[in-house]
Symmetry: C2
Subunit: 452 residues, 2 copies
């Protein structure tokens, strides 16, 4: 039986297994789910063992555990380190899900569940690719798995683990499926990822909530102030106004921008898919450029005052927001966090106090599209899809790609099979069954072409 | 026994009774508390009966009921209609209360509980004043009580009730205790109240929550947009920028402003009480003027995106805020609501949709300080406090004062005994026992001086 036949024969079981994993609400950001996260890790370990690794272990960290497994067949052969994560984003807002986030539902050729695309569904393709290669005697590389449980909260303990296990993690390349292709007719490989700086700000006015009638007009309202400060972070052209913010942004050449413009993209479809009458972003750049090669600043959450039913005439003591910036080469996550922090504080009037704290961040990366691993991935795509994949720049961040380069000296190939429309981080996250099976096939072929 | 002796003799019982009323969480804004609101109404009815009214009834409305009671002693004597409310503000944020909001706590001469000052504590002074007058044979007016349960949510059904019961509510003046005095050494009577327009806005961008990495930079973020729109509602001098907003604002004369400036007020104490380094408000006006004779615009609540623990990189579909404006004579609540609505919508970029809804509002009022009722109140203060009360303008709104004038042709006297520091609408709301007892005494004396 060849790889393709093996996948076809076992496809229902592959999906059933994934469904079981998706049922575990491994929300890393929420301490209520600590035990679920543990359970999802153990599920991953068991899955690796069943797929044919020599051994698999749960590696404890200061936070959520890392699952490590390996199948070492021949030290003269190249070694591939597969990275992924088994933790998922919080499912809120729950009321917008058509089916419960942790009760996977298969509908219209897609599996709906939190984590279906990001990243359990994509990790599971690697597990099943291993099983496929083992059972069809086509494994031609050593293979290591490192599946973490803190990707959605900043991978804080992964860096420590990597530093402490350099020998164990020795490999020739890292393979990661946590990105998207352009569409199911247009395969692509992500060649660049944005970085991230994620901040939380708090504006404090009076020492208690006040009656807006008694004090309104005379005491500065932290909610108004927060809005005014946030509004000042961008100008009318969508440029971020933080001094020094763009200083290290790598500008692309005219040729590179022309190449990007050739990607299939229809702005009408894009707008109609999102239900917006117009897009908006940094002046002078296209939508693809705005999400690929330009940095951003987005408010991810805001809260303060009375948010219940009806009306309450309160002048609140505090206002808060979560604000994140996507970064591009060669911006530095810590430097941008500091620039933000200093600038934001400088915007505060004397009538309020401001606190800025840093959540996790990540460095932006660009990968080498001429490396042997990238070329092997291209060949795998050509064989499985009958088309050469297009190298793209993706807007999201996988902070650990920069970390792996720094700590392990290893490049990553971002062999993702999701779609931008998968509703990652949103209600009704889903993953196409076509993508799931085609991914297993493509990944299995990668090993054939990868010679180290 | 004279009034003062009677109050002194019964003071502990008066307080115990009030405590029982304060234990009922009659939060009118929250439908969960519908039964509690009913219970508080029944408590009010029973209290009136015990205090000596001839009859007291629960009057059902489309919303929460109104408690009506009357003691008619002689049709040739003047009639006083006492208005108050038994509903309270929501107690959120609960974690900032030092003792639970519905478990009244007496500490340092104050009673801490939601509603202690606004308005159960103040209404109860009238109930106990009636009891005092009845039991000391000093009642020299007919007296009617109308205690509603929807003041904190806009008194929507009170207008209907008043219109339908004009005969029943016939009186010479309305007496309301829902305001403050300057301080316990400086008695005052509120001669002006601001009006209110209370709006809720929703900004909708994409039709679903998006991944801020995949879409950030290319799709306008409703949270950023909401902040930008709110920021545009005021300029750097604290002036509200809504076209036409100030058109009908009554400017005070130089003499009137000089008189206001004579009120005892210490800006250092004010700032240190609130814990702010600086105050902020409309340029060209003092703090007293900003809260008394100038209109305002405050964000009372804002929410959207991810507001849980940790970090979530979401570009949310929706952002919302509650925004209210305090109005001064001769601004009109409906007109201002319309001006706001039109202007706010005009600020929206094409990339979002905006919805504006109106919550309750109220007209601003100024009362006649030379009316016989106002003068009777002044005399009562002089006798009880040994000082002439100062007429003040208060920042809060009691929308029904304008309604009473319109529907019943009656003026109100705002005989409130609270303090601005009572933490109305805030955690740890409280009411001074001194104010409670002195209020009963002053109210009882009002009837002696009021000759219709």
């Amino acid at each position: 039986m060849n790889q393709k036949e093996y996948i076809e024969k076992n496809k229902d079981r592959f999906l059933d297994e994934l469904v079981e994993w998706l049922k575990i609400p491994s929300v890393s950001a929420d301490s209520k789910h600590k035990e679920d996260v543990k359970k999802a890790a153990e599920f991953a370990r068991q899955s690796l063992l069943k797929a044919g690794v020599d051994n698999a272990e749960i590696c404890e960290t200061a936070g959520h555990p890392i699952v490590y497994g390996e199948k070492l067949i021949d030290s003269s052969l190249p070694t591939v380190l597969v990275y992924g994560h088994y933790d998922v984003q919080p499912p809120d807002p729950l009321d917008l899900w058509n089916s419960p986030p942790f009760e996977p539902m298969i509908k219209d050729g897609k599996i709906y569940a939190r984590g279906s695309s990001d990243d359990k569904g994509q990790v599971y393709m690697h597990v099943k690719a291993l099983e496929t290669m083992v059972n069809t005697n086509t494994l031609t590389c050593n293979i290591k798995f490192m599946i973490e449980g803190e990707e959605e909260v900043g991978s804080d303990n992964l860096g420590i683990f990597v530093s402490e296990n350099k020998e164990k993690l020795k490999a020739d390349v890292i393979l990661i499926s946590d990105t998207s292709i352009i569409n199911n007719e247009t395969p692509s490989i992500t060649a660049g990822l944005r970085g991230l700086s994620y901040m939380e700000v708090e504006v404090v006015g009076p020492n208690r909530d006040l009656h807006s009638g008694v004090y309104g007009g005379a005491v500065n309202n932290p909610l108004n102030v927060l809005c005014e400060m946030i509004a000042k972070l961008k100008d009318e052209d969508g440029k971020i106004t933080i001094p020094g913010f763009y200083d290290k942004v790598q500008e692309l050449t005219k040729e590179e921008r022309e190449l990007m413009a050739k990607q299939p993209f229809d702005i009408h479809d894009y707008k109609s898919d999102l239900g917006v009458e117009d897009v908006f972003g940094e002046k002078g750049y296209s939508t693809i450029e705005r999400t690929g090669i330009r940095p951003t600043l987005d408010v991810n959450g805001i809260w303060g005052g009375y948010i219940g039913e009806g009306a309450k005439t309160v002048l609140p003591s505090k206002a808060s927001a979560k604000i994140s910036m996507r970064l591009v080469p060669n911006q530095d996550t810590d430097e941008i966090a500091d620039l933000f922090s200093n600038h934001f504080k400088s915007l505060a009037p004397k009538s309020v106090k401001v606190k800025v704290t840093k959540h996790h961040g990540g460095q932006p990366v660009v990968t080498d599209i001429y490396s042997s691993a990238f070329l092997a991935a291209s060949e795998a795509f050509k064989e499985a899809w009958g088309k050469e994949p297009i190298p793209t720049r993706e807007g999201g961040s996988i902070p650990i790609v920069a970390l792996f380069r720094e700590k392990l000296g290893l490049d990553s190939v971002l062999l993702g099979f999701g779609l931008d429309s998968d509703a990652l981080h949103s209600p009704n996250e889903h993953y196409g069954l076509f993508n799931f099976y085609k991914g297993i096939e493509t990944i299995s072929l990668f090993y054939k072409y990868f010679k180290g």
